[in-house]
């Protein structure tokens, strides 16, 4: 018999995670059946650069191959860029959507490989979830982006000035990509708390979770929004 990766993880645990993926409300509309035509792989940008196949994701789930699904949840799902080019599947499957579900289950369950895969994204997660915008202009540092060439230094040395030169007033910012309405931010905080998205973070980075929870709780309290129990 072939060697099974992650042999140290009991089959019951792998089955539990698989069942959690299958129980997702979106699952049935993301997976019909796979006849292995490969159109998703042909369309997939990630498949050109990584040892990654959206077809195998759909196949493994359709076959209910619990071992392989667990392996993919650890080794493959973070190679997807979630561009959804794979939606052209003639059977109507969404391999990218299946990966979304698998990622969420991996995050909620704090898989070691998920914590490792997301370790480099702490700052980005913090930015998105506290400001509602992703990469901010002040992240553009000469040492962080040498591949952007010598112009980076000129821009970063006078960042606030360059930003003020942009026509939209909402972009005269340096610590976030654009100015987000206070009300919008609070709504985002409420959504992330209500839907459990914030709690998901606790499984992969408890420190980050605690910092963000404090920011959100303070803001919500200040604005008088009561999320209830």
């Amino acid at each position: 018999m072939m060697t099974v990766p992650y042999a140290d993880v009991p089959i019951e645990e792998k089955t539990r995670l698989f069942e959690e993926v299958k129980a997702d409300a979106r699952y049935d509309s993301y997976l019909y059946g796979c006849y292995e035509c490969g159109i998703c792989v042909a369309a997939c940008p990630s498949a050109r650069f990584y040892d990654f196949s959206p077809r195998k994701i759909a196949q493994a789930l359709a076959r209910e191959d619990v071992e392989l699904v667990y392996e993919q949840m650890n080794d493959d799902v973070w190679n997807c860029s979630q561009c959804f080019s794979c939606l052209r599947c003639p059977r109507g499957n969404s391999p990218g959507g299946l990966i979304t579900i698998m990622r969420e289950v991996a995050v909620k369950n704090g898989l070691r490989t998920t914590r490792e895969a997301l370790a480099g994204y702490t700052r980005i997660i913090y930015k998105i979830m506290t400001t509602g915008t992703q990469v901010s202009p002040d992240m553009l540092q000469e040492d962080a982006f040498p591949d952007w060439g010598p112009g980076v230094k000129t821009v970063s040395d006078n960042l606030a000035l360059w930003r003020r030169a942009l026509p939209p007033e909402t972009m005269h910012t340096t610590a976030q990509s654009w100015q987000v309405e206070e009300r919008t931010i609070r709504e985002l905080y409420a959504i992330w708390k209500w839907t459990g998205t914030l709690d998901m973070i606790a499984q992969v980075d408890e420190g980050l979770h605690d910092i963000m929870e404090e920011v959100m709780d303070d803001a919500l309290e200040e604005s008088g929004i009561d999320l209830g129990p």
Binding site: M1, M2, Y32, G33, C34, Y35, E36, R55, K56, Q59, A62, R63, E64, L68, R91
Partner: protein, 354 residues
């Protein structure tokens, strides 16, 4: 020469029944000869339900049988074989032999051969699936017989199987065996049976190991998609090379080709999707009527693809799986076409004095 009015149909399966009914409805007297003691042919004898609609065979075919049995112009001879013929198109003299050995000569104007196929015998030396060694290795036909009794169990112990595997293309598409052709219906039948197994045993895992799935036309969504999507049947591209006994289970060795890895899997029941070969009766009719066999061994036709029923022997037509692998739709359509051609020939000959 006086043209004999009557048409001889040999074989009472779907093709022969349709040929007999069609010719009789065109006002031709028909002599229908069937070697078995009942009409209906291979589907009636061996198949619990028919592809692709999974309806009970007896229920949906019964009308075909009675239409012929009750037809005033059809003379049905059961348990009877054609053993010799003389003459030519317009006036054949055929010798019929009944089960008790008694013989009778009959005069007919034209002949439709509808003697069908037999299932491939998976006991040949290159077939390492252990059909005659292991109780739990069966064929599609054995599975149908179980389904006729309303159950699917492991023959070794009478228990329902938890894991069932179909192996496709057994006896088909294989140079070593000598059958280079695809038998056309086995993908559909295996898919049909996999759905039926899931109906009977919802918790069973069912696998179909295949080279190509050939689910043409409506079978694609009626059977293939339905089995895969509604019943979670596992289609795995890669044919099994060998079945060996392991404990009280069967170990299948093969390659999972689309996953790119070798596979060894344990099963409780293995169903071989055996293909079609010319039946003994078909080979016998090739001899009696001197009908050439085409390169795969079935009865030759001369007008493919536009004429599917005319053989190189004047006055002799073929319908159904005697001419090659056919599904039911093809067989019945050919039965009608053969009746039309045969009746047409006799009418033409009657109008034209010899």
């Amino acid at each position: 020469m006086a043209v004999a009015e009557r048409l001889l149909v040999i074989g009472g399966g779907p093709a022969g029944l349709e040929a007999a009914r069609g010719a009789a409805d065109l006002n031709r007297p028909v002599l229908l000869v069937e070697a078995r003691d009942t009409l209906g042919g291979t589907p009636w004898e061996s198949y619990a339900t028919l592809t692709p609609h999974l309806k009970p065979t007896k229920e949906i075919m019964a009308g075909m049988l009675t239409a012929v049995e009750d037809h005033p112009l059809v003379d049905v001879r059961l348990s009877t074989r054609v053993v010799a013929r003389e003459g030519e198109a317009g006036r054949f003299l055929v010798t019929l032999e009944a089960a008790d050995g008694s013989r009778q000569v009959e005069e007919v104007g034209a002949v439709v051969v509808a003697t069908g196929f037999q299932h491939f015998d998976p006991g040949r030396e290159t077939q390492m699936y252990g059909y005659y060694e292991y109780d739990d290795v069966i064929t599609l036909v054995d599975a149908e017989r179980m389904m006729q009794a309303g159950k699917v169990v492991r023959p070794s112990n009478g228990e329902p199987p938890a894991r069932v595997a179909f192996i496709q293309c057994v006896g088909s598409r294989d140079r070593h065996i000598g059958n280079k052709y695809c038998s056309k219906v086995c993908c559909g039948i295996a898919s049909k049976q996999s759905i039926e197994i899931k109906h009977l045993l919802p918790d069973a895992k069912v696998f179909i190991f295949y080279i190509d799935m050939r689910m043409y036309g409506f079978w694609e969504d009626q059977l293939y998609w339905r089995a895969q999507e509604e019943h979670k049947v596992n289609y795995i591209r890669g044919i099994v090379t060998e079945v060996i006994k392991k404990g009280d289970q069967l170990l299948l060795k093969g390659e999972d080709t689309t996953m790119g890895r070798p596979m060894e899997v344990l099963m409780d029941l293995v169903i071989l999707s055996v293909g079609m070969e010319p039946s003994a009766g078909t080979l016998e009719m090739a001899r009696v009527f001197e009908i050439p066999r085409e390169e795969h061994g079935f009865l030759a036709t001369v007008g493919e693809p536009l004429d599917t029923v005319t053989t190189p022997v004047a006055g002799v037509f073929v319908a159904g799986a005697a001419a090659g692998p056919k599904d039911l739709e093809d067989s019945v359509s050919m039965g009608g076409a053969a009746a039309m051609k045969a009746v047409g020939l006799l009418s033409r000959m009657s109008r034209t004095p010899a």
